[in-house]
Amino acid sequence: MIETYELTKQFNDFLAVDSVNLSVGAGHILAILGQNGAGKTTTVRMLTALLNPTRGWARVAGYDVVKNGHDVRSAVGVLTEQHGLYMRMTAVEYLDFFGQVYSLTASARKLRSDHLLEYFGLTEASHRRIGEYSKGMRQKLALARAMMHDPGVLLLDEPTSAMDPESARLVRDEIARLKSFQRTIVICSHNLTEVEALADQIAIIYRGRILIQGTLEELKKTVLGAPEYEIKFSFDWDSNGVELPKGVEFLSRTADGLKVRVENPQEANPQILKHLFAKSASVMALQEEPRTLEQVYLKIMAQAKGSENVE
């Protein structure tokens, strides 16, 4: 569980994070999106009790990040921007070292390390020096370190960067599995497809301020407006003059149909179909226009930069 209130961090004249309010429950994934230098890493560092907030507070796994830094660090698994691997160690030694730091027993360390190395496909290379690993292998090992003590809260900075598609899929599956085991997860990522697939909540941060946050659907609705639908007809049916039900806004005419915006699809879509069938329209499809997180993100960013330019 992560909760923050007006979390702010200022470095001399630079306001890195400004009044961030977050609430992520157990079994939920929050994705923080933003440009480089937007304040994602600083936020994560405050949640790891590495940086003290200038103002506001944060509780992670029930502990205050300022008063109970040690407890926070025990409860959290962090994948940092830089992997932070000791190049002269082997993967087994590395995981064992961090297992000891987190006070795991020898048998627990062995069990956990064997499992993680096997899961991430590193068993064969486990006795090789980390310096000899590829970028993707290093990323996987860093992730294994973050998961070594089976933490209740995971803070993952770019968890799948530098990974091949197969490995990335493996990591996504593991994150989803951890979510189902009631872990609280925060992901900082530039991979919007991955975020769409994993996150329950998304927060977009710009210059330290959270511009918007909510579920993907909420974000789409707020930023892009009500969902748009295309109605396709099987043959040339004259849709001129067709009356649309209340709550359905006509947008444009396409080669073989119409485009409409629907405020409340659950109620309005059956009405549309009923209405069209009553008019003997040969409806071939009623499909939602695909709207991606990327569109949301780019629009939000454009708005933020635009309003900044106006100011």
């Binding site: 940092t80 830089q82 030694e93 070292f97 730091v101």
Partner: protein
């Protein structure tokens, strides 16, 4: 508690393993351990042959201890690189964040690094010394006594602790390995000068003073460790990326602390200065007590060491000394030659020197200088008494009038140094080490200009124009 130390060992063990896997650290150390004793031995042979021509046996006796000290020192300087990059190196390699995010306390992390930093050079030094002693046994040279060996062993340990603890402070405060290595000269040069002093003590053969030197170095080392832990902040290790001297920020921080937001001189003098004085008050009390201790020490030292000399002196000799002392202050001339500005400058320089000495030693050297100053007064008092004169009238006339102002100025001037040392070794939440130093400097300037300088000015006027007259009248009686 043991489990807490287990984590210190864990951090140290990893560091050590890492070092032993790095040939760039290992190779120079091994070469140094093996080669330097042979080189030193060859040098010793040549020196012995040369000195034997002149029957300089005393120097020969002291030569082996001196060589041991030098042999112990060299591996420490090389291994300093390991301590210098302990934190900043990890920062540069990007390995610091995972370890800082782990449930390790600051002191566990710090001591883990310190342990390896000290242990590595020490093992290298001990091995090197052992090899040299083995070579010395093979020659016609006197082995040092057991006590000197213990002193050399402790001295080498103290040097390693001092240099490594300073190197780790630098490593925590630096933003790059390059900067840390450049700053290392601030360790190597003072320690090299310190060793020259210790070498003098070794050749002098004064074991007591050498013990004091060992204790002094150990105290400074412990204070450095304390400073390192007090100013170890995860935030600063992660937050600062670039080495830039921000003169504007330095000036603004100083100015803000110096003026304390006051709008006029009156507001500063009556509001800001008393606040600074209140902060220094406990140190003033401590330094005041140290004054009594120093007076007694000076008095006692003269009584113990000089009384035999005075008692065994012939009556003629004694009379000669007495008459020369009574004529010593040619007060009629003194009045003209020693002016108030001269006295003022002299005393101001002494207080500034105490500040400078204290600045680089957490107040220790500053307070030692202060004790020396006060101790001289106790010594002179004892000397006058030993010569059979009553020192009280002389003191009331010659010291008290200007001493009322001068001694408090000296006490306050020295107390700030003690206060500064105490603050530096105390954790200051939310402040960088630089910020703390600037604030302390602002406090020193405030008290120096606002209290010490005016007191010294008044004392100088009294000492130049009133004290001589009073002394003349007392001595005439």
């Amino acid at each position: 508690m043991l489990s807490k130390f287990r984590l210190v060992w864990l951090v140290a063990g990893r560091e050590l393993k890492d070092q032993f896997r790095d040939w760039r650290v290992l190779a120079p150390m091994i070469i140094l351990i093996l080669c330097f004793p042979f080189l030193m031995n060859e040098f010793a042979k040549q020196t012995v042959d040369f000195l034997n021509q002149y029957q300089a046996n005393l120097i020969l006796d002291r030569f082996v201890p001196f060589s041991i000290m030098i042999i112990g020192f060299f591996p420490i300087t090389i291994s300093l690189v390991v301590a210098l990059e302990s934190f900043v190196g990890e920062k540069e390699r990007g390995t610091i964040e995972p370890i800082l995010s782990a449930p390790l306390d600051n002191w566990q992390l710090y001591f883990g690094k310190l342990l390896v930093g000290v242990a590595t050079p020490l093992v290298a030094s001990y091995l090197s010394i052992a090899l040299y002693l083995f070579l010395v046994l093979d020659q016609d040279l006197n082995m040092p006594s057991f006590m000197v060996m213990v002193q050399l062993f402790l001295l080498t340990t103290a040097h390693a602790t001092l240099m490594v603890s300073a190197a780790i402070v630098i490593s925590v405060q630096s933003t790059s390995v390059k900067a840390a290595n450049l700053l290392a000269s601030f360790i190597v040069i003072p320690v090299a000068i310190l060793m020259q002093g210790e070498a003098v003590l070794l050749f002098w053969g004064n074991e007591q003073v050498l013990w004091l030197a060992i204790v002094g170095v150990m105290i400074i080392s412990l204070l450095l460790i304390r400073v390192g832990i007090a100013h170890f902040q995860r935030e600063y290790l992660l937050g600062r990326e670039i080495d830039v001297i921000n003169l504007r920020w330095i000036w603004q921080t100083f100015y803000r602390n110096f003026t304390g937001g006051s709008k006029s001189f009156r507001q500063w003098y009556l509001g800001v200065l008393p606040l600074a004085m209140r902060r220094v008050a406990p140190a003033v009390l401590a330094v005041g007590l140290i004054a009594f201790l120093s007076l007694w020490m000076g008095y006692d030292w003269i009584m113990v060491n000089v009384s035999d000399m005075v008692h065994s002196a012939s009556p003629e000799r004694l009379q000669k000394i007495e008459s020369s002392i009574s004529q010593l202050p040619d007060l009629t001339n003194l009045q003209g030659s020693i002016s108030a500005p001269f006295l003022f400058m002299n005393n101001t320089r002494a207080v500034a020197f105490i500040f400078l000495a204290g600045l680089f030693s957490f107040g220790v050297l500053g307070i030692l200088l202060y004790m020396l100053n006060i101790g001289v007064v106790g010594g002179v008092y004892a000397l006058i008494e030993l010569l059979g004169m009553n020192p009280n009238p002389l003191f009331f006339a010659g010291v008290l009038p200007h001493g009322i102002f001068e001694i408090p100025a000296l006490v306050i001037g020295s107390a700030i140094v003690l206060y500064m040392g105490a603050v530096i070794v105390t954790p200051q939440t939310g402040k960088s080490m630089g910020e703390v130093m600037i604030e302390l400097f602002a406090d020193w300037v405030k008290i120096f200009l606002g209290v010490v300088v005016p007191l010294l000015a008044i004392a100088a006027i009294i000492e130049a124009y009133i004290t001589p007259g009073l002394l003349i009248s007392v001595m005439a009686r």
